[in-house]
Symmetry: C2
Subunit: 228 residues, 2 copies
């Protein structure tokens, strides 16, 4: 590849990332329905045609926004040891995610608005969010089973119900936090709830820093397509 082509590629990628960033902010503030492609193009200082070159439809842009977030979350869980046989990496990842979320209010606002809008079966992200919650509940239940097998889960815990509750708690805390960040310490509440279902502490060593260096994800470990 020539230097010029490399620069063109790099500029194109930077522009694409900028569009995703602006779209994330818009979707998060006024929702998918309230956002227009014209506004996004204007804020990115490109023409509507220039925007179409990267994302032909608003749905394709939404897809990129959701996939970007999912990829980042997956990397976060991996850093927390989601592959550990005892399942504790996933539970620690939830506390880490709750802490990290306070750094990205636009993104969690986006998910709060979109997941609620997407309850409508005609919403372009409906199938995505249905599948996403199934995956989160299934992943959490699977982690809790591994925690039980490792002898670290309290006896009276119903695994499937706890998976629903932990998922719900994370979402509900975000609503309160988005409205008033002083009202709740999301990571502390998540940690408290998790320790209630464990026989011992959640962290037996120092917790992983919220923004430690990222080990790149392999290509074969991506979440499902974001928008159907």
């Amino acid at each position: 590849m020539s230097t010029t082509t490399e620069q063109g590629y790099s500029t194109g990628r930077a522009r694409r990332e900028r569009i995703i960033q602006v779209a994330t902010e818009h979707f998060g503030r006024v929702g998918f329905n309230g956002t227009t492609m014209l506004e996004i193009a204007a804020e990115c200082d490109i023409s509507r045609a220039g925007l179409s070159h990267h994302f032909p439809t608003k749905e394709s842009l939404l897809e990129a926004v959701l996939e970007t977030r999912d990829r980042e979350d997956l990397q976060r869980f991996r850093r927390n040891g989601s592959g550990r046989a005892d399942g504790m990496g996933i539970l620690r990842g939830m506390v880490d995610l709750a802490a990290h979320n306070t750094q990205v209010p636009g993104l969690i606002g986006l998910y709060a608005v979109l997941s609620a809008e997407a309850a409508d079966a005609g919403h372009p992200a409906h199938d995505y969010f249905v599948a996403r919650y199934e995956r989160i509940r299934r992943g959490t239940a699977s982690a809790l089973r591994r925690v039980r097998d490792a002898g670290r889960l309290a006896d009276d815990v119903d695994i499937d119900t706890t998976a629903i509750e932990l998922t719900a708690l994370m979402d509900g805390l975000q609503v309160q936090w988005l409205l008033d960040p002083t009202s709740v310490d999301m990571a502390a509440v998540m940690r408290g709830q998790l320790e209630r279902v464990l026989t011992g502490p959640l962290f037996d060593e120092e917790p992983v820093e919220a923004d430690a260096d990222i080990e790149p994800a392999s290509d074969d470990d991506q979440p499902e397509r974001a928008v159907s």
Copy 2:
């Protein structure tokens, strides 16, 4: 009042209720920002001027929608014995509300979308939702204190954190339920969480029916104004 005037008043009230019903459905499906007054007027078979006669602005219509829901919820809690000295009526009211919510998906969709949109400080319902969550947490904490005074709260319960958690759980369950009603039994999960913090059962007699007859609320017991 003449019969004609009475009929006019009754027709006007019926129309007003119809507008609130249509607006609730629209706000719940596409959000406050995605709804136009023209669409609401069209679906109510009235002119834009006719709609303005009842609700001069979209904000005033939103206010009526939220106040209607709050008044209904307040009546529901009162029927469940929210005035009981031991605080148990409030906790039972939460399970009753979770059960009732499965009958009004449009309304809970509305609250899910609006509470998320309202995180933006410029949203007309921002102050309303901040105040609403403060009131819910405060009311829940107050009930839990009365439950403790009555000797019915488990020893290790942190009251303020539990108030945050129960509020978050209710909201988060709604997101999962709206996306897939088969994924979660909201009332059962709420009841399970509540029984975890109690020393005994939540219901010592038969639970109140979800839609028992309503005893009208007194005028001096209304929630705060919905939209600032």
